[in-house]
């Protein structure tokens, strides 16, 4: 088989050096190693896996054998380990330092959770194993479900949604199923401006018309505007609490009462539940459905973008509509209610199925380990420390940076700042890139949309005071440079594996897969 690496790795590809530092022959800079693409160093004949001889039998593929090259380069095992280890070193991660992404919650990842999720009884278990052989796994799902119900004071739950946005969809489908069961096909979902971008997208995906509700000047849902928008056509409201401005919705009980009065339901985006877990139970506020990002509130690592897990808790009104499958405990035995057993177990109102199997078992095990480690006392301390840390950052920086809601009450788990006061031509993005040179992952930028040039800082509870102080110092320094119009800041980052990347060019002419340069050139 021919090698597909016709271009080869050229040393000069990685030799760009900032400032006066001399270029190196390899493009490497001591411990910072440039790494070519797999397609430039591997070839299709090489493999890092030994397989046994196969028995000689005639193929039974009815003539469908592949007869053309696929183009999948391989590496030997040491080459593969180096390739990915080198790549890993070009990533910032929570294991390296504070990761203050607002609305995303990046906190310490306990390795105990990883160890538990990898126990063969959980990791090496097939989803269709006869139920008698899965009692321990079902017990874990049941344990997490019971904790979530207790922490929210809500009686129903769906464990299968695969991520927060998938949980939103689950909640809205339950709302829709509940209305349709009453023969009442409502068309509209109200979504406040301050909601996560997933909220309106989810409502549209569930077949609803989306109607916006403005925010008040102090960053909360405008209760009067909400009441004015309510009508018998409104199926429900999607609201984020604590909201994306980092604030608690003071009017939550009144909002729920008003929505219930017109026969609607309240969906709460629970992405920020980590700020109130153990201190506030959403069921006590009147919420009908809420997803919980297990990977945020109950600490699963985010793995560069996922996987997540988004169980949804339900009020008594919506609980009967929860989708298949789910776990029930009958005396000492756990029962998996799915298509095979739904009739005998009596759950005829379940609105259907959202995923092929039972949800994110790996995340359930991690969440269980985390919940048990913290206990009810620890989880309460978690939200208190998260809120304390966020307010500490807010108050430590409000004199330096514009904090639009600093007067609107304490912030919850995240503090928000804006670009007001920066010198002409300097933006939030410059501050973010400046923080990279200071050794920090930047905060969330340009979100929420209701604040111009927003910066959303979420320190979490797993940072020491010393770490918070160092971050505060760094952010203050970078913000002052933005206010003073320090031209060097426009060039940041200087010290990252890459300087500022051209995202516009990437979108204008997308290159999404690797093509052999020789062939790519011939095609043009």
């Amino acid at each position: 088989m021919s090698a597909i690496n016709q271009s080869g790795w050229r040393p000069e590809m990685g030799s760009g050096a900032a400032g006066d530092a001399p270029a190196t022959y390899t493009g490497n800079k001591a411990l910072m190693l440039e790494e070519p693409l797999l397609f430039e160093i591997g070839d299709t004949a090489r493999t890092g896996v030994d397989l046994p001889e196969r028995p000689k039998v005639a193929s039974r593929l009815s003539g469908l054998e592949r007869n053309k090259p696929i183009g999948l380069p391989g590496l030997s095992e040491p080459e593969a380990v180096r390739h990915y280890t080198r790549l890993s070193r070009q990533n910032y991660a929570i294991d390296l330092g504070l990761f203050p992404l607002g609305s995303c919650t990046m906190k310490h990842n306990p390795r105990l959770n990883e160890k538990m999720a990898r126990l063969p009884g959980f990791a090496d278990l097939h989803p269709l194993t006869p139920v008698d052989g899965t009692q321990g796994a079902l017990a874990v799902i049941h344990l997490v479900a019971e904790w979530l119900k207790a922490l929210t004071n809500m009686p129903g739950i769906a464990m299968s949604p695969k991520a927060g946005a998938h949980g939103e969809l689950c909640g809205l489908l339950a709302i829709r199923a509940a209305h349709e069961a009453k023969g009442d096909a409502r068309k509209i979902i109200l979504v406040p401006e301050s909601a996560h971008g997933t909220n309106p997208a989810t409502a549209a995906f569930a077949g609803y018309q989306v109607k916006g509700i403005p925010a008040t000047e102090d960053g909360r849902v405008d209760l009067e505007a909400l009441k004015a928008a309510l009508s018998p056509e409104v199926a429900g409201v999607m609201i984020t609490n604590p909201n994306t401005c980092g604030l608690f919705e003071r009017d939550m009980i009144a909002i729920c009462e008003a929505v219930h009065a017109i026969g609607g339901y309240v969906y709460c985006d629970g992405a920020n539940f980590n700020a109130i877990v153990g201190r506030v139970r959403p069921g006590d506020l009147g919420v009908d459905a809420m997803h919980i990002n297990l990977h945020k509130t109950f600490s699963t690592p985010h793995g560069g973008g996922g996987p997540g897990s988004g169980p949804v808790v339900f009020s008594a009104a919506l609980a009967p509509f929860a989708p298949l499958p789910f776990v029930e405990k009958h005396d000492d035995r756990y029962v998996l209610v799915e298509e095979e057993t739904v009739a005998e177990e009596g759950h005829s109102r379940a609105f259907g199925r959202m995923v092929a199997f039972h949800g994110q078992m790996g995340m359930f095990t991690r969440a269980a380990a985390y919940m048990l480690s913290h206990g009810a006392d620890g989880l309460k301390q978690v939200s208190e420390d998260a809120v304390l840390s966020a307010n500490y950052i807010l108050r430590s920086l409000e004199g330096v940076m514009d904090a639009p809601f600093a007067g609107a009450g304490p912030c919850m788990h995240e503090a928000i700042f804006s670009d007001k006061g920066f010198a002409e031509g300097f933006s939030t993005l410059d501050v973010a890139k400046g923080l990279i040179d200071e050794g920090f992952h930047p905060m969330t930028v340009y979100f929420p949309l209701v604040v111009h040039g927003a910066m959303l800082v979420e320190p979490t509870e797993t940072e020491s005071k010393a770490a918070l102080d160092q971050f505060i110092g760094a952010l203050r320094s970078v913000a002052e440079r933005a206010k003073a119009g320090d031209a060097a800041l426009k060039a940041a980052p200087m010290y990252a594996p890459r300087r500022r990347l051209d995202e516009t060019a990437a979108a204008r002419k997308p290159v999404l897969v690797w093509k052999d340069p020789v062939q790519a050139q011939a095609a043009e």
Binding site: G42, L169, A204, D284, H302, A356, G378, L379, N391
Partner: protein
């Protein structure tokens, strides 16, 4: 509370800076009626690492793991050997504990790995472009149908009887709410399977957005999709191909090569492991002209301010955080870490390793099928399959499977569990064979089957 670094004196000092007397002052915006005092009732207090290990370890031991004995379960989730390096790499903190690469200058590791993943998936599927992963195969399948509706502006999807019944369930659940019309059929074990392709072709009309066909199908059959693709295109519909066993593509012609417009599937077989059903990794690929209608994330190549090559997330104007209610999907989280596991395993295999692995799976499955056909009363349904095939038994397979499990043999998936409605399917047993299956395992299955059928 070993995960919390703040000390009592730190908390006091921080409250001082904030200007609050107590922590309760920071929760004043919570309505009094909903403010909890004390801890949430009904839950235990915190536990040591040792205590947690004991409790969860005991639960793990209650399960019948795939490695505990002879094992033949498949149906969309497959047991393959995962090289030790794969788990080592994904447990490196810089991969494991990083976030979505929104700041590309310090996320090149994740971004380059995703770019390589996209290239591997596109080539494996025979398509021009692929995204940076979905939740799993079943949700990717529904997203493909939504995408076909957007492209064709039609809302009737025709689903093959060979599509995994859970995937069909997911699509039916969603379609109830979106108004898409789904035409489905159930698989037959009575020898009329060959008519399925003709049924699909006949069902395509001017309202059809897409035909969705799984290959190999749920019962293990492999089929040539070329004629179906032509029939779709002749009527302006798209062909969506679903692959639940990506290892099969080391041996079988890719769906793209057979004319599929969108190819989706499950990537669990490579790198991810069984995990009781999740997390898994959805694969999604299509023609370049449809890329702006594609759901999910994309990594793209660009250059930095020094002209050096680098990678960023791109075309995000399709996504929920920009287009909100007009977005191509509401997806925010992908399966980044599982995609990494997939791509590392694929890199270790390379083309040679993947082809050899696929050929080994197929050869062992052929051997096993021939041996199982000798068990009295057992018939192998099809002559063409990859690593999974259907046996027909003289009695319902649900109890047979349970009896075999009692004897330590996980002998396959009962079609009665997947299709509770009966109609002859209840006697079907789906048997998957991979490189992890030994001839001793096959003998154990034959013995257990004989005993259970006696």
């Amino acid at each position: 509370m070993r995960y919390l670094p703040l000390q009592p004196e730190d908390r006091q000092a921080m409250l001082g800076v904030i200007g609050a007397n107590t922590i309760d002052d920071l929760f004043v915006d919570v309505p009094g009626a909903a403010r909890l005092s004390g801890t949430v009732p009904g839950l235990p207090m915190h536990a040591t690492e040792l205590q947690v290990e004991r409790q969860l370890g005991a639960l793990a031991r209650m399960n019948q793991a795939a490695g505990d004995g002879p094992f033949f379960l498949g149906a969309g989730s497959y047991k393959h050997h995962v090289p030790a390096s794969v788990d080592h790499i994904i447990q490196r903190g810089e991969f494991l504990t990083s976030y979505t690469p929104y700041q590309p200058e310090i996320a090149q590791g994740t971004l380059q790995a995703l770019f390589e993943f996209q290239t591997q998936v596109a080539r494996l599927y025979g398509c021009e472009v692929a995204n940076a992963s979905m939740y799993d195969g079943s949700t990717a399948c529904w997203e493909a149908i939504v995408m076909a509706r957007r492209i064709t502006r039609r809302a009737k999807a025709v689903l093959s009887a060979g599509l995994h019944p859970h995937y069909v369930s997911v699509c039916e659940t969603m379609a109830k709410f979106t108004g898409d019309v789904l035409e489905t059929a159930l698989p037959k074990l009575d020898g009329t399977a060959g008519q399925e392709m003709a049924r699909l072709i006949a069902a395509i009309d001017s309202e059809t957005s897409c035909v969705v066909v799984q290959n190999p199908g749920i019962l293990g059959r492999v089929a040539d999709l070329s004629e179906l693709a032509e029939a779709c295109h002749a009527k302006g519909a798209l062909l969506i191909a679903v692959v639940t066993e990506p290892v099969s593509l080391g041996l079988i012609k890719s769906p793209g090569e057979m004319g599929a417009d969108i190819v989706v599937g499950e990537g669990q077989s490579l790198g991810v492991g069984l995990q009781f059903g999740g997390p898994y990794v959805g694969l999604f690929a299509c023609a370049e002209k449809h890329v702006r209608q594609m759901p999910g994330r994309l990594a793209g190549e660009t250059v930095d301010a020094d002209g050096q090559r680098g990678f960023v997330l791109t075309l995000s104007t399709r996504e929920q955080h920009i287009r909100r209610e007009k977005a191509t999907s509401n997806i925010c989280t992908n399966s980044g870490l599982c995609a990494l596991a997939f791509t590392v395993h694929m890199t270790l295999l390379g083309e040679k390793g993947l082809r050899d692995l696929a050929a080994l799976n197929h050869a062992l499955a052929v051997q096993a099928a021939d041996r199982l056909a000798q068990v009295p009363g057992v018939k192998v349904m099809d002559g063409a399959f990859f690593n999974e095939f259907t046996l027909t038994l003289p009695k319902p397979s649900r109890q047979v499977v349970r009896d075999m499990a009692q004897n330590g043999v996980l002998g396959g998936v009962s079609l009665g569990r997947l299709y509770p409605d009966g109609d002859g399917r209840e006697n079907g047993l789906l048997v998957a064979v991979t490189e992890t299956t030994t001839s001793e395992d096959v003998e154990a299955l034959c013995g257990a089957l004989e005993e259970a059928l006696a």
